[in-house]
Amino acid sequence: MITAVRPDRRGRSGAGGGAPAAPGGAPGPGGRRRRTLDRLRRGGLPYLFLLPALVMELLVHIVPMLVGIAMSFKELTRFFISDWSGAPWAGLDNYRFVVDVNRPVGAALLQSFGITCAFTVLAVGLCWLLGAAAAILMQDPFRGRGGLRALFLTPYALPVYASVIIWAFMFQHDNGLVNHVLHDQLGLTDQPSFWLIGDNSFAALVIVSVWRTWPFAFLILMAGLQTIPRELYEASAIDGAGVWRQIRHITMPSLLPVNQVLVLVLFLWTFNDFNVPYVLFGRSAPSAGDLISVHIYQASFVTWNFGTGSAMSVLLLAFLLVVTGLYLPLTSRTRRRRGHDARVS
């Protein structure tokens, strides 16, 4: 560490060595002023590097989000859409309106929220399970591993709309592949089922979502497996541990930190997912497959009441924040404890 040898007053700006200093910049005559300038320049440098990212995030994420929150407190009906800042303030009326479960809007929102929760738990669980199974079973080389890996990753690489369109094609009632196999060829159902309307639409949604997302879990877990030192397996093999024991006592505990982030990311993506339901069902989602993002989209654009639509989005964001806020400390604690146990045993 070259920087460590410069005990200057910049120490208060944070831990670590500060900016990598350019040695040879010893203070010459009139060095004091130059050093101040230098320090300013160097102190500002990281901010300069971050500037483009900051500007973009402000423009596309932060400011629109704040505007969205502001909109949720306004009575933003179709009469004010051309001049939204002129819309009257509504206080908490929008929120009261959308959480009132005795009225149709609130009841529909609650139902959609419940469906989304069930959908997310199922889809994330299945994605993780399939991804983990494939990654662990493919940890050792065997013939055809490379080809199989490419095949497994293909659904993830396909653009979302293309994969959803393929599934919509296969889920057709009269001419679809799924009914052809289940009804015509295997005879499992008395009648060809409807997949894109009615109760089955929930299952269709889960299947499509899992099909295109599980390879992501597979990819991340595959990368996670590569960081486990080989010596751990060799040592345990010498101690007589078989493959299954190794998976339970070495592989799974080592994957805990990866799992923590992976499950959170999968949860957020699945919960917010708009593309899959929107392309699968079009503008009118059946009530069994009415996921929250499409629900909010429809609630805003069908009634042209963007105030209540924004209120719903803000509630959704608040829910995600709370879940993430609870999830991270909770899993970190378990992880630390489990990690400790693994090391002791």
């Binding site: 293909t154 659904p155 396909l158 001419n175 679809g176």
Partner: protein, 313 residues
């Protein structure tokens, strides 16, 4: 003194590269014990992987074969194999909808968004990884938490902001490719920065400090040392950014007009009120998927290496 440093530099760089390569190789070598696994494990592996292979392959197979079917085959009962193989759908797709224009729009939008996003992510990750400054943690936390925002929350505000910017300055963001590029580049930015910070952290600081000793400025050290050493991570981030921009539907459907429409929205054109030309839909899906799937599969090695060194640590 300086001379000797300069002469030593290529050597040191080669050493550094060798070190990075050795680490990547070491990563690839890890795995379970070299002894043959027991039968129960081999059979579980066969069964589970076969089932997964069928699950993954059937839709791809359906797309491929249906894209080679004549229209009668896809308007009647499903057939596993075309009654006659035809490449007709691949010719028709270009006339039914202006697919070439959508294609061009998608390439411009996704390409520009990827280039800008990667460049911005590199300098941001460099700052976060190599400097200690006030607000560093705030920056990373804020950027990452934007991943949580439901797209639906800022769709309409963003739309209004773009319209207002257009009215105030005359820069057309709404309905233009530029607006879509700006939007998409920020979508991939949080993940890209996060992953590259992890990757840059895994590159020994001694490397860029040595470059600084040799008289490189901060930018020089970034471009000559960090970027070459982090190529797998950067490629991985670029793949991710391109795929994100190539597949986005929600913003594309609101923010584009007839001339700037991208593939994500344009593919809907094959469904008319009465008919869906499913064979053409499948052919078009295949054509728009080939660039991303091929790129992804060719470069997935980098993605795994990049994730291994960066994100999953």
């Amino acid at each position: 003194m300086r001379e000797s440093h300069r002469r030593a530099q290529p050597h040191r760089r080669a050493q550094a590269r060798a070190r990075v390569r050795a680490r990547v190789r070491a990563g690839r070598r890890s795995g379970r014990s070299p002894t043959a696994p027991p039968r129960s494990f081999v059979w579980t592996r066969r069964v589970v992987l076969s089932l997964l292979a069928v699950f993954a392959a059937v839709p791809v197979y359906a797309m491929l074969t249906s894209s080679l079917k004549p229209l009668e085959d896809v308007t009647g009962q499903f057939r596993w194999w075309p009654s006659e193989l035809t490449i007709r759908p691949y010719i028709d797709i270009w006339h039914t909808v202006p697919l070439a224009r959508y294609f061009l729009n998608s390439i411009i939008v996704a390409g520009a968004a990827t280039g800008l996003s990667v460049a911005i992510a590199i300098v941001s990750a460099y700052a976060v990884s190599r400097y200690r400054f006030r607000g560093r943690r705030l920056f990373t936390v804020t950027v990452l938490s934007t991943q949580m925002f439901p797209g639906i929350l800022f769709l309409l505000p963003l739309f209004l902001i773009y319209v207002n910017i257009g009215n105030a300055t005359g820069i057309a963001l709404y309905g233009s490719r530029g607006g879509l590029i700006l939007t998409y580049l920020t979508f991939s930015l949080p993940f890209s920065i996060w992953m590259l910070v992890g990757y840059f952290d895994s590159i020994p600081r001694g490397l860029d400090e040595a470059a600084r000793v040799d008289g490189c400025g901060p930018i020089g050290a970034l471009l000559r040392v960090i970027v070459p050493a982090a190529t797998p991570g950067i490629v991985a981030v670029a793949i991710y950014a391109f795929m994100t921009a190539w597949s986005e539907v929600l913003f594309a459907s609101v923010m584009t007009n007839d001339t700037t429409r991208t593939l994500a929205v344009g593919l809907r054109g094959y469904a008319t009120q009465n008919d869906v030309y499913w064979n053409q839909v499948m052919a078009a899906s295949l054509v728009v998927s080939v660039p991303v799937v091929a790129g992804f599969l060719l470069l997935q090695r980098y993605l795994v290496a990049g994730l291994t060194a960066g994100a999953v640590k």
